[in-house]
Symmetry: C2
């Protein structure tokens, strides 16, 4: 995964993109609660990010807020939707319908970002044809055919590590350019493919080490 992503107009650091996507979701929840205007200080409390960081991130969108007035929530949401292209719905597929894959098929949070999980794939005959959270499971051998119909833009890999590279190659061959990988293994992809690894045991292991190390020393920002 590169550290920055650029169009002809602007460059966004990946970390800023992730924060902006999170702001969008949280702002939408604020608006549902009836909040129309918010100060950068209150926004900072809700988002758990410093006001300086928020101002810096929003400046990528050309947003600067007005001192003493705060941000117009609806305007910000609209701007984030446009700039982050969230307004355009997308399809995603999940490869590997084990426990984790099934949980992800039913994960409500993706809808907040207009992302629809449209199909699941597995090789276990017992799962083929079943529906999980209303989403059909197909045999992996039908990946090309199904994807020609639904045009997924992103895919989730939740197969065991030893199958992940093969599945990854197949997904790329059907034109998917963004992959969220849960398999605990490093995948090789061409330069124009974006891959994000969510490695659950590494996250938990690193936390554990931090708490133990923190006993002896301390955390430094």
């Amino acid at each position: 995964m590169p550290r920055k992503i650029c169009s002809e107009k602007a460059c966004f650091p990946i970390d800023a993109i992730k924060r902006l996507v999170g702001y969008y979701r949280d702002l939408k929840h604020l608006k549902e609660k009836g909040v129309n205007v918010i100060s950068s200080f209150s926004l900072s409390e809700i988002l758990g990010v410093s006001p300086e960081q928020i101002r810096k991130d929003l400046s990528y969108l050309g947003e600067f807020g007005k001192r003493g007035v705060g941000y117009d929530v609806e305007h910000l949401i609209k701007n984030l939707e446009d700039r982050l292209t969230i307004v355009r719905p997308s399809n995603a597929v999940i490869c590997g319908v084990g426990r984790l894959g099934m949980a992800l098929m039913g994960y409500a949070g993706f809808r907040d970002l207009n992302i629809r999980i449209s199909a699941g794939f597995d090789v276990d005959e017992a799962k083929i044809g079943m529906e999980v959270a209303g989403i059909k499971v197909y045999h992996l051998r039908h990946l090309v055919k199904v994807c020609k119909r639904i045009h997924p833009e992103v895919a989730i890999i939740s197969v065991p590590a030893s199958y992940a590279q093969d599945v990854c190659d197949r997904i790329i061959s059907v034109g998917v350019r963004g992959i969220l990988n849960f398999a605990p293994v490093s995948l090789s992809v061409p330069n124009d493919i974006f891959i994000s690894n969510v490695d659950l045991s590494v996250e938990l292991g690193a936390l554990l080490f931090c708490t133990r190390m923190g006993e002896a020393g301390g955390a430094k920002g």
Copy 2:
């Protein structure tokens, strides 16, 4: 989450810790396959990290490898186990036994790092007393009593966003200092608590934006 964690002996950047935990797991799999010595180049291919980065990360452990000889796999594993304190087993608990929580209770990867999920907690009476992957589910009101017995060092939060702060506060009150949070919300924690957020919709949304933005421009390392 701070960017660095320090003991009296050394400081480790959090990103390096995560990579080192990943190296440990992958090296153990290599050893199981009978690999005893590995060059930094081959290690780089397997781990998907540049040889320079690996050398730099391992130098935190005082490891420098021998030019033209490579790394002794067993020695590296031993060193990582000792320095990352992986050799000491730990208990973890999961709060929120929904689809995702259930998947995490059965997630095999935690065992690679000597982490045992010892209990699940929920408020849904239908789930109390059941076992998921051999792990018992308790009512959240028994958190204190159960944790006094199993002494969890880390906890996973997989409850809906609106309950997450309350659950987080309770977990901290029983002495847990490391939290892996899957709820899509920012949690407030004291400075000596380590929290890591896995925000699945943000990850997928950011990937989607990158692929769309990448069409117009390009990725920059």
